[in-house]
């Protein structure tokens, strides 16, 4: 039969690409179903499709496939972080310093609140601190995706995006210092504690500034054409993700800074027409369906209970901080409570952090991992619902 070489032979050789197509397609359909039939955010459908097709249920997207598709996930996450960075206006902190206060307080309360409870439960200090650092952050992807899905505008939306960008940055910096602390526990010197976070911060700033300057100069040449800008920006984001990984910098920090600096350096407002609106939806499906596929439920027995406690303490901490400064920052109590609810989603990136620990320090991971993995899994479903509720109740959805 050698002469019939053009006939198909082994379908499974094309597995990853094939199943990737199926995943995106099913994710999109489930998302539409959620939006139309249940009036829920689309991303809940994307996540559900991922869970269903992933290793937890059908296993058509198995762990190897997920590993091969990691690049897509990184790019989609990079775009979200870049867009969030580009959307928030750090100048606002100068015009309304109470917001910076709110942000610091909300992150500090989350850190110490969650940390204290874990210590009381006899969790090892370093593990408690790491979990607490992760608990500071709100998921940029969930917040951005739901607010875009609802085309939300208003104070709850804008503050939610700003606080999310900020607490994501804090979470990474603090977690990094804890990694350094671990270095110390597991041997290593004091210099590492300082040098590693410093390297991450300075590296992210320098790399993102260079990328932002390059992007703006390219955009200056392209002119104000949304389609060309869109492609150019995707290319730059992919480059940024790759460079950050190659330089062993934090992808989250670098991409957020890249977005922020692109906005700050854009004095001629070249870039303002950019929006990842319709075209961006594809990346959202990719991001959330792949995230859904990576969720793990087998630790639920061990971690779910502690996870629920962690969610409750974290919510209480954030709400207290937001309420403490809401009058001074010019937000009504009603909107303050909605803003607190909006901060519920926890970052899938948190999971990556936890897993980095796992890789760096085997023998340290499983306890933390079980709690964090369960928490993130619960919040991947609850988080979008919370943001959806908050923005709709604030009447900020279009």
């Amino acid at each position: 039969m050698a002469e019939l070489f053009f006939l198909p032979r082994d379908l499974s050789a094309h597995g990853p690409v094939l199943w990737f197509g199926v995943l995106v397609f099913v994710g999109m359909l489930t998302g539409e179903l959620m939006a139309k039939a249940l009036k829920l955010p689309r991303i809940v459908g994307f996540v559900a499709a991922g869970v269903f097709l992933g290793p937890q249920v059908l296993d058509v997207i198995d762990k190897d496939t997920l590993f091969e598709l990691r690049g897509f996930l990184d790019i989609a996450r990079g775009l979200v972080l870049f867009e969030l960075g580009q959307r928030v206006d750090f100048g606002w902190l100068k015009r309304n310093p109470w917001l910076l206060g709110t942000s610091l307080l909300e992150a500090a309360f989350s850190f110490f609140g969650v940390g204290a409870v874990l210590l009381i439960l006899d969790v090892k200090p370093i593990i408690a601190a790491t979990a607490a650092a992760i608990a500071m952050g709100t998921s940029p992807a969930v917040v951005l995706a739901v607010s875009k899905d609802l085309r939300a505008q208003g104070q709850v939306t804008e503050r939610l995006l700003l606080l999310t960008a900020l607490n994501s940055i804090y979470a990474i910096l603090v977690a990094t210092m804890l990694v350094a602390w671990l270095h110390l526990e597991y041997q290593g010197g004091w210099s590492v504690i300082l040098l590693h976070p410093l390297y991450l911060m300075a590296g992210a700033l320098v790399l993102s500034a260079a990328l932002a300057a390059a992007t703006l100069s390219i955009l200056g040449r392209l002119g104000r054409r949304a389609d060309a800008q869109f492609v150019a920006v995707i290319a730059m984001v992919v480059l940024a993700v790759a460079l950050a990984e190659a330089l062993r910098l934090s992808v989250v920090l670098t991409l957020l800074c890249f977005g922020v600096l692109t906005r700050i350096l854009d004095r001629e407002r070249r870039f303002v027409s950019l929006s990842f609106g319709r075209e961006g939806l594809f990346f959202m499906v990719v991001l959330f369906s792949l995230t859904g596929a990576t969720l793990e439920f087998q630790h639920f027995a061990m971690g779910a209970f502690a996870g629920l406690g962690l969610i409750a303490v974290r919510a209480l901490a954030k709400t207290t901080a937001i309420f403490a400064l809401t009058r001074s920052s010019g937000l009504s109590l009603r909107k303050a409570s909605l803003l607190s609810i909006g901060l519920t989603p926890m970052s899938g990136t948190a999971l990556l952090l936890a897993q980095d620990f796992y890789v760096l320090y085997p023998g340290f991971g499983p306890e933390l991992n079980a709690v964090m993995v369960s928490t993130v899994a619960m919040l991947e479903i609850l988080g979008p619902l919370a943001v959806n509720f908050a923005l709709r109740q604030a009447r900020e959805a279009a």
Partner: protein, 378 residues
């Protein structure tokens, strides 16, 4: 007269009140943003004489001054309003701007303010209600009684094109240069009760007219008429509504001063007897003013001569000089001549600002800086 459906409340003649509809934009891409409720919440409560109210969409607020007899105090209050709004908006990371229309907003994105009257308008007018996201300045002029109000309203119709051309600040709409200096008025034309008030000079006659129209169920109150100038019996004023909101409070005050000078001229000198005939050229002149601004052609309804709006405006201002002196309006009168002869209207500034940056977002940003009173390149 008691028993009239619309009793005309007497007010001191030639007093002024100004309402400005303002745009609320985000600081990111300068598109309109839904922020009216948030901004109203953030304003310090009850400390001032002026009012800030929500308008039909969440992207608009209306500010109104108290009653003034002089331009200078009106301007002072307008500046106070601006200086109260700007920091409140800053705390919320939004910007406030003048201008008759947002240059690139998409009307389908607009959200109707949560209130029964606004809901009613939305149900009745559908997409028109959302397209009505345009921003005007309303000037109230006090009148002693209803007959004076109707006289002034019709005598003033000749000058409506002046108002339009001076205030025009909506050359861009839905992302394009409309070629009009005031595209805003085109949006208002779409409403069935827009245009000019019917010709009648007795307040009793107007009451009969109103009763009949209300009897048909066409209107419920005076608010349902979107006329260029309409009587406002509960305030004892006529309300001139053809101004686009200017980019600065200074210009808003100067436009109000112009209405005051004209009113004094018309009421004191009674230079014309208004007639229905005057309206033969009305829509022509009005179109010319919307389309070409101060370069527009102007036909005098009485002498039937043609000249540019600029020429007619400057000669009118010259004729108003004694009234300007009486009303302490010499300074705004000079400012208006300068607009006519050298600076041009805000539409011209907007076109040249767009010419520099070729960005409507940037134009909007510059416009919001002008509103704050910052010096922006002319």
């Amino acid at each position: 007269v008691s028993g009239e459906p619309l009793p005309f409340k007497t007010s001191a003649p030639l007093t002024l009140g100004v309402e400005l509809e303002l745009q609320l934009i985000n600081t990111r891409d300068c598109d309109l943003t839904r922020a009216a409720s948030d901004l109203l919440e953030a304003m310090p409560p009850g400390t001032s004489s002026f009012e800030v109210k929500p308008e039909i969409t969440e992207s608009m607020i209306e500010v109104s001054t108290s009653v003034h007899t002089r331009h200078a105090t009106l301007l002072t209050e307008l500046r106070q309003i601006r200086d109260a709004l700007v920091p409140a908006a800053e705390r919320l990371n939004i910007a406030v701007s003048g201008g008759g229309a947002h240059p690139f907003q998409h009307w389908s994105e607009r959200q109707i303010y949560d209130g029964p009257r606004f809901k009613h308008l939305n149900d009745l007018y559908g997409y028109l209600a959302k397209q009505f996201t345009v921003f005007g300045q309303h000037v109230h002029v006090g009148c002693a009684h209803g007959d004076d109000a109707l006289f002034l309203l019709h005598a003033m119709s000749r000058y409506v094109p002046h108002f339009i051309a001076l205030a025009a600040s909506s050359p861009f709409y839905q992302g394009v240069d409309t070629a009009f200096d005031s595209s805003r008025l085109n949006s208002i034309f779409a409403f069935p009760l827009s245009g000019r008030a019917p010709f009648m000079l007795r307040w009793s006659e107007f009451n009969q007219y109103f009763e009949r129209v209300r009897g048909y169920g066409i209107v419920q109150s005076m608010k349902d008429f979107y006329w260029d100038i309409r009587p406002k019996p509960e305030y004892g004023t006529i309300e001139i509504r053809v101004f686009d909101t200017p980019l600065t409070v200074e210009r808003a005050a100067a436009l109000a001063a112009y209405a005051q000078m004209l009113s004094r001229f018309l009421l004191v000198e009674r230079p014309v007897r208004p007639s229905e005939e005057d309206y033969l050229v009305y829509t022509y002149n009005r179109f010319q003013a919307c389309r070409f601004g101060l370069e527009g052609n102007f036909i005098d309804p009485v002498s039937q001569t043609h000249r540019t709006l600029r020429e007619d405006l400057v000669s009118t201002l010259r004729r108003l000089e004694p009234h300007a002196r009486e009303l302490d309006c010499v300074e705004p009168a000079h400012a208006l001549v300068a607009i006519a002869e050298t600076h041009g209207n805000d539409a011209r500034w907007m076109r040249s600002a767009f010419g520099r940056s070729e960005s409507l977002q940037d134009l909007m940003w510059q416009a919001s800086r002008r509103w704050r009173g910052e010096a922006v390149k002319d």
